[in-house]
Each structure stands twice: as C-alpha cells, then as structure tokens.
C-alpha cells in the first residue's frame, strides 16, 4: 500500500514535469468524455420523458392515405369504427400546419376538442369560443402574444383572423406545446376551410390494450384507405429517434470515439524520448520492470480518472442545468421555433460504466503497453536511445 502511495506521488511529480502535454491530453480527454456523455444523457432523458408522457396518447390514430399522402378522413368512418368490438370511443381530431410569413415559423394549429377547460400546465384557460386561442410559449414569445393577448393569423381564404389569447402554456410543457396554437374544433375547420364532414384523423380508444393490433387490422380491412397507427408504434418512434444509433447522434458519438482512438493510438505507438530516458534511469537505479509498469499504470489512472470524472460532471451540468445548449444547436436544424430542453434528470448507470470501459480502460492500456516494451529493454541501450 505504502509502495503504491509512493509510486503515485512519483507519478504525479513525473506528470507535472510534462505539464503542457498533460494539460493538453486532459482537455482533449475531458471534452471527448463530455461530448459522449452529453449525447447519452440527452438522448436517454428525452427517451425516458417520451416513454412517460406519451403513455397518454390515443390508443390508435386512424389516418386516411390517398395517393401515398395523408388526406382528410370522413368523420363517417368513426361510426363504423365504433361498432368494432372492443372500441370504446372514437374522436375526430382537427389539426394542421400554419406557416407564419411574418416570423417565418411553422405553427401547429389544433382543435382542443372536448378537453377540460383548465390544465395544470396552462396559464389561463383553453379556448371556449371561435375567437379565442391558447398558444405555446414559443408562439407567444415570437408574436408578443404574452403582452398583447392577441394573435392575428391569416386563414385559408386569405383573411386575417383576430384571436384573443385565453391561455399560454407554461415553459415546462414547451417540449410538447412550443409551436402550438389551440383553437376550438369549429374554429380549426373554419380556419383551414376543411370540407364538411372531414377531420384530420380519428383518435380511437380501445378498452383492452391487448386487442389494439386486432382492432387496427379490422379497421384496415374495413377501410383499405385507412392507416391505423398504434400507441406502441407511436412510442417506439421516439425510441428510434433518440436511439444512440440514430443519424447525427451516431455521428457525434463516432467522432468522439475516433478522437479518443487517435489519442490512444498516438500513445500506444510509442513513447517520447524523454519518457524512454526516464524509464532507463529508473531501471538503472534499481527499479524493477514491475515497478515501472505500476508507475505507468498509475499515470494512466491519474490522467484518465480525472478527465473522465470532470467530463461526466461537465456533461451532467450541461444537459440538466444548462438545457444542453451546445447539443441543442446541433438538434435545432432549421426550426425557427425551438423549445428549451428542461429535462427531468434521468441517467442510465449502465451508460456510465460503458463509457468508463470505452474511455478509461483503452487509455490505461495504451499507456502501459509501450512502457512494457521499453521497460524490458536493457537500460543502457534505452538511455543511449
């Protein structure tokens, strides 16, 4: 134990002699771990949140597909779907997209249906008349609706419609409601000029969740132009979107791993003349090969553990306290309205262990292996270079 403590003391002195190089490695290593961990923390938190909150989505959404595109669905379909055994409720949903030329942003305009007038995450109340609306925090901020309490939108007949803002969704719900403009169903039908008897899609409630797939098959059989989307498909979409194997997340992940590999490779392919000389002197003054290897092992542990823990701390604070401001710029894309990520901290401990084995172990190995090659060589030839 005392021997190891003394070797650690020596390892620290040795590292401090190569201060500039070690600081550079520490910064690169910490940033790599922080990037990797941020991606994993963010995607895991978004996925966990989606799994929890999307439990409330309709059991089945029935769309109509025409010419390969989503088309308005006849509300009559609802009656026949209601007759299917196991279906307890069918509600038409009225919604669409609105491009606001003024702010160059897209809004989602949606009918509130028969939702309860007051919601916990809504400051104010849901629209009760055709000229009232509730808006998301993003829309309110972009259009100054939180000050004026008014919102003018141009309808499908190119006529400006003035809505009174009856409620604004709290920022806690921005991930769901940031771009939302909520009207009454009648107001949405009139605003978009939907044909009478048509809805955007149908929300179906099934009593027994085990029968969902069967009901979906029956609907498809009954209406060949219908496309039923089950709750499971819906939640799995977000499993896929925020899976670490998905698109850009994988790119960021690969870039970080590659950076670490290059660093480890650089270390593994050889040690500097200065380090060789140090090993030679240590051997010449009586250190065993074992002692030299222990020394290099501790040097690796000191650098990698400090960087790994610092990287983890930085990423945690970045994702859960600073709303992932660096990663969100990558995620943002072309969205004009982009919600703030106020995520509920949720960390998979397995991810931390995986990162540990992906980053710390290879680094220590790449520190010890080249040292072993040098340490088994005759000290005199090592010192002569």
């Amino acid at each position: 134990m005392i021997k190891h403590l003394k070797i650690i003391e020596y390892a620290l002195s040795s590292l401090l002699r190569r201060k500039t190089k070690i600081i550079a490695i520490f910064i690169a290593y910490t940033l790599t771990v922080a990037t990797l961990a941020s991606v994993l923390f963010l995607t895991h938190a978004l996925k966990t949140e989606a799994t929890h909150i999307l439990q409330g989505v309709p059991d089945l959404i029935v769309q109509r597909i025409l010419g390969g595109r989503h088309d308005l669905i006849p509300v009559d379909y609802a009656e026949k779907i209601k007759d299917i055994f196991g279906v307890s409720e069918v509600k038409p949903r009225y919604w669409g997209y609105y491009y606001d030329a003024l702010t160059e942003a897209n809004y989602t305009v949606m009918g509130a249906g028969d939702a309860a007038l007051e919601l916990k995450l809504l400051d104010g109340k849901l629209p009760a008349t055709e000229f009232e609306c509730a808006v998301g925090k993003g829309v309110a901020a972009l259009r100054g609706a939180d000050y004026s309490n008014e919102l003018i939108l141009v309808n499908s007949r190119n006529i400006g419609v003035l809505f009174d803002v009856s409620g604004i969704f709290q920022s806690d719900s921005s991930l769901l409601t940031n771009d939302l403009v909520l009207l009454t169903n009648e107001a949405v039908i009139d605003f978009f000029g939907f044909e009478p008897g048509r809805a955007t899609d149908l929300a179906v409630t099934v009593q027994n969740s085990n029968e969902l797939q069967t009901v979906a098959v029956k609907i498809k059989k009954l209406f060949p132009d219908a496309r039923p989307i089950t709750k499971r498909e819906l939640t799995r979409t977000y499993d896929m979107v925020f899976n670490w194997r998905s698109g850009m997340m994988l790119t960021v992940f690969c870039a970080a791993i590659m950076a670490l590999c290059i660093m480890a490779w650089d270390k593994a392919t050889g040690i500097s003349a200065e380090e060789k000389l140090e090993i030679g002197i240590l051997k010449a003054i009586g250190w065993d090969t074992d002692d030299v290897l222990i020394l290099k092992f501790w040097e690796g542990v000191i650098v990698s553990m400090t960087s790994f823990l610092t990287g983890l701390l930085l990423s945690y604070v970045h994702v859960f306290y600073f709303d992932a401001f660096v990663l969100s710029t990558i995620l943002k894309g072309w969205s004009v309205l982009f919600p703030a990520f106020q995520l509920t901290p949720s960390v998979n401990v397995l991810h931390i262990f995986t990162m540990f084995f992906l980053t710390v172990v290879p680094y220590i190995a790449s520190t010890v292996i080249p040292t072993w090659k040098t340490a088994v060589t005759d000290p005199e030839s090592v010192m002569r270079g």
Partner: protein, 100 residues
C-alpha cells in the same frame, strides 16, 4: 505525500459531486418533476398530442410518428433530405431489418 493527497482529494470531491448530482436528479425525478410528468401526460391525453415539438421545419419532422411513408421522398424517390433534422431521425425499423 502532499501531491498524492491533493490528487485523492480531487478524485473524492469529483466522485461526491457526481453522486450528489445523481441523487439530486433522482429526488427531482420522483418529487416535483414527477408531477410535471403527470401534468404533461394529462396534457397529452386531454389534447390528443402525439409528438414532441422539437423540429417544426417540416410535417414529417414535427410529427415523425404521423408521417406517411413517402414524406422524406416527397420530391422524387431517393431525393436528398432537405432538413438537418432528417439526419437525426433514424430510418424505420423495417429498413434496418428489424421487422416486428
């Protein structure tokens, strides 16, 4: 042994900080924020929301779960993806050979 003590001090402080953050996160998850999750779930079920409002640039990025199969190729088959968000969303599972 001064340097060693400082090193172990730093490691212990970092471990304690990490543990505190993780425990604090866990507490937040099960207390106040848990109710927010409940409130969000109510919001989703009351309004019939289906997707996160993250990418508002196109209909298939705003509502990935509701997009039709041709959304990403709306101009012509194998057309280049217009939006950066399309690069984040993974292809559907049947294209990855993971048929249910």
């Amino acid at each position: 042994m001064m340097k060693g003590k400082i090193f172990f001090g730093v490691i212990i402080v970092e471990c304690v900080l990490l543990a505190v953050l993780l425990i604090h996160g866990r507490i937040r998850y099960h207390s106040q924020d848990f109710h927010h999750l409940e409130a969000k779930r109510t919001l989703v079920s009351q309004l019939g929301l289906t997707d996160y409002a993250i990418w508002t640039e196109a209909r298939y990025t705003r509502h990935p779960s509701q997009a039709d199969f041709f959304s990403a190729f709306q101009d012509f088959p194998a057309a280049f993806e217009h939006f950066p968000a399309g690069g984040i969303i993974a292809p559907p599972q049947f294209l990855q050979g993971e048929v249910e």
